[in-house]
Every structure is written in C-alpha cells, then in structure tokens.
Symmetry: C2
DNA sequence: CCCATTCCTAAACGGCGGGTCAGAAACTGC
DNA sequence: GCAGTTTCTGACCCGCCGTTTAGGAATGGG
C-alpha cells in the first residue's frame, strides 16, 4: 500500500554527494546541490540521512573496512607463503631464484590490490586529506595512515625474521619511507582522471626502495654482513641532494 | 597628531590568527575569536586586513618565499661544492673518504635547515594540508610539494652527473620516495609539541634511501658494475610485503 | 582645555545554508 | 474512483558569521 520509495534514490544521493564532497569539501558541499543532481528536493535528503556528515561517515567506514579486509587477507597469504616455503637464505637471492620471484609476485599483486581499493575510494581519500579540518573527520586520514604505517613496521619485522630484508635498519624508518611513497602515490592518483599502471608504479618503487641510491660499484662486496658494526653508516640526500650511503665500516 | 595605533596589534593578530587557523581551519576560524584573543574588537581586524583569507595568504606567501630562498642557497652551495671538488669516482666511496664526508655534511646541514623552515611554519602547513579544500588555497600545498619534487628530480640528475648516485634508476621514482618521506616527516612534525631531533631523522632516512632494504649479503659484489647487468638486483618490502625489484629487463 | 584627527568599538546588516514541516503527489488495494 | 498510506516537495525559519558603519574614545597640537 502507498507510494513506493524510489529504489535508486539512495545510491544516486551517495554518488552525487561524493562528487560534491570531492569538489567542495565537507563543509562547502551543499545538500541542495546534492539532491538537485539526482532530481530530488532538499527535503528528500533527510529521508535517507541524518545529515551531510552522516553520509560522509558511511563512506569513510566503508573505506576503512575495505582496508582492514585487505590487510587481513594479505597477512594470511603471507603467512601461508612462509609456512609453506620457510625462511630465505643467501642463495634465494641468486639470479633466477624461483622462490624470490614467487614472493615478489605475491607482494606485487597485493600492492596492486591495495592501490585498486584506493583508486575506488580516491574521492573520499581526497576529501579526508584536504577538506576535513574543522569537521568531525579532522585527522582521520592520518589515523588510517599511522595504522598502515604500523602494519608496515610489523611486516618489516617479520620479513627480517624470514631473511628477506636486512636487519640493521630500523623498521620504523623503513616504514616511513615506504608509506611516504604510498601517500604521494595516493595523492597523485586522486587528481588523475585515468587509472595509472599500478604494476609499473609498484615495480619501480620497489626497485628504488629495495636497492638504494648508492652507485652499485661503490657497494661493499657481498659477504655475510654480520650485525652492522659500530661505525656510522651514512646518508643521503634530499631535496636538492640525494646521496648515497657509504662509509660502511668493515663488518 | 591624533591617537597612535597600537604598535603590536598587527603581530598579535597574526599570532592569534595562526592559532585559530591551526585549530579550526580557514573556514571555521572566526574573526571574533582572533580579535578577542588580542583584546580587540571584531571591527579592528579590518583595520589591518581585507579579510581572513588575505591574512592567511600572507602567511602562505611568507612560507613560499622562505622555501624559495632556501632552494636558491642550496643550489648555490652545491654548485660551489662540485665546481671546487669535481665529480665523484669509485674511490670516493671508500671507507673514510673525506670528500664524501664533506658532501654528506653539507647536505645534512641543508636538510636540517629545510626542516627548520617547516618547523617554523608548521601551523600553516597543517592548514594547507588539512583545511584548505573549498577555499582559495585548495591544492596550494600540492603545488608546493610538486615543485619541490621537481627540484629533487633536477638535483638527482645533477648528482648522477657527478657520480654520486646510480644512474639506472629514474630520477622521478627517486624523487617520489624522498619527497614521500619528507611529507610524512612534515606531517608528524605538525602534530608534535616539541621540536624533534632533525639531524637524527635526516641521517636515518638517508641510510634507508641510500642503501636500500636488500640484505647486504645478497648484493652483487662490488665491481665496476657497468650498466646494471641482467641479474636481478634485489629488494625489498612494502606495506605488508616488501619486495624487491627484480625482473629487470636486460639492457 | 578644545579641536582635529585617527583609532577602535559594538551594534546592526545581510547572505548563506542547514534543517523543518505542512501539504501535495504518487501509489495500492478495494 | 476512493480511501488510506507513504513519499516528496519547497517555502520557511533560524542561527551563524563576515563585513559595514555610526559614533565614542584616545591623543597631540595649539
């Protein structure tokens, strides 16, 4: 009995709201513009949501849920990998190593998946980064990033345990570099109409972070570098000056 | 003749405005709160500034000017270094190299200076990042970051020319990793009451970026590695899955 | 002490947009 | 059709600031 509700009103509202939030931020997005874009009147908005903020909160929740799901899947897959194939040893890094290739393939796929989630939510991410101050969502993006960064720290610790990465760098510093690159990637995505080539991005990023900037000819010969000695390691560049790390003391 | 203006009214307004912007963003900062914090009436604000936005614009201008000044100084110092001491060769990377130590010292000092500027303007940076959407300052921070990133690209190219960093990585990818770490550093600074140890941060960051994450024992022996050979270099991680870069195509 | 001048205050204005609600519209079953 | 019910509309109310402005306060010169 009675007039049935428009079945796609809600999803139309969500889509229009995302566009308005993306364009104007949470505060400046006008409810009337959102409803007008769906051919509805202002009052109709309140049939579906308490307020602008309530709608946006749902979007954020959805984003967080997707990230959490992905993280869980990721951890499980990685655990399976190592429990099936054990820790890495020196010869696993030899040219043509099948085991290394498998790990890389797994991780690249996972990274690409993460970028896909971010791509799908890029408008929400944009608003969280640029337009949330003074709203209830102020700082939410940094909570998310901090949590991701912490996950990277944990992941690094595990990879150290399995011999995949060197143990003499602090996991916190590694995580910051990795997350930093991700944040910039995220932000570049956000202002781009076409989806970039995620695999290429991930691969290139991993080469840089994996190998470092020092000229290869300057690297110490490959020996079982034990426990990094006392001497200052050294450093590198920045803005104007990337640099390489050298001065590695003899083991 | 006539009543003299309060000499510190303007600076008091700027200080109070920064605090309000920092706290509430550009849109939600109330002029009345700003003036009240200085013991002035709302109307007094307009004796000094056209509008809220005009005041904030001055802060941004100031920030950009400082960054530009620093950049110029930096370039000049680096040019002087190389024109006086020439390009790097293999033996400059040997343990105890005086020339390398000098370059590192120069660059670390410059990096710390950059962090000092950001520290001084951290409230403005915070607003630009988090609270500018829907205002005239929307995207300004990313313009600044993009420009800095481009400067890093140029710097990388020069350092390649002078043999300080390897030439087989794209400068763009390197710049993204470096800037990413800087952005996260900036953002961490922004929400911190006490000034962190900049030198320590820079040093640690440079070790990670300079050397990469691959286990040292897995690195190819140090030979005049010509044009990166065919074999996989190795790698490293990421979020959940550091990885390494491999699969490098034969040159 | 008075006046011209400049500074500053506080009240008022005005627009904008979130939220409300009385009633019109749409639909169903009879 | 008609009654009953639920959905939608759009005019309206209202508070919140940014901005204006009329006039009061402070000051210095004469």
């Amino acid at each position: 009995m009675a007039r049935p509700a428009d079945p796609n009103a809600k999803s139309a509202l969500v889509a229009a709201a995302r566009a308005q939030f993306r364009e104007h931020g949470i505060q400046r997005a006008r409810i009337e513009d959102i409803t007008a874009a769906c051919g509805l009147s202002k009052g109709a908005f309140y049939l579906h949501y308490e307020s602008k903020e309530a709608l946006f909160a749902e979007l954020v929740k959805d984003f967080e849920r997707r990230m959490d799901d992905m993280f869980e899947r990721r951890t499980a897959e990685e655990d399976a990998f190592f429990s099936k194939r054990g820790a890495f040893r020196s010869n696993d890094f030899a040219p043509g190593s099948e085991r290394l290739a498998a790990l890389l393939e797994l991780q690249t796929r996972q990274d690409v998946e993460a970028l896909e989630v971010m791509w799908a939510m890029r408008d929400v991410i944009h608003v969280l980064i640029n337009g949330s101050q003074g709203t209830a969502f102020d700082g939410v993006i940094w909570h998310i990033i901090d949590r991701e960064e912490h996950r990277v720290v944990v992941a690094c610790d595990r990879l150290k345990k399995f011999g995949v990465i060197r143990t003499d760098l602090s996991s916190e510093a590694i995580a910051m570099v990795l997350m930093g690159a991700w944040v910039l990637t995220m932000r570049k995505m956000v202002s781009r109409p076409e989806k970039p080539d995620f695999t290429a991005i991930i691969t290139e990023l991993n080469v840089v972070v994996g190998e470092g900037l020092s000229p290869l000819s300057a690297r110490p010969a490959a020996k079982p570098a034990r426990k990094s000695s006392s001497a200052p390691r050294v450093p590198v560049a920045r803005t104007r000056n990337p640099r390489s790390a050298r001065m590695r003391k003899a083991p």
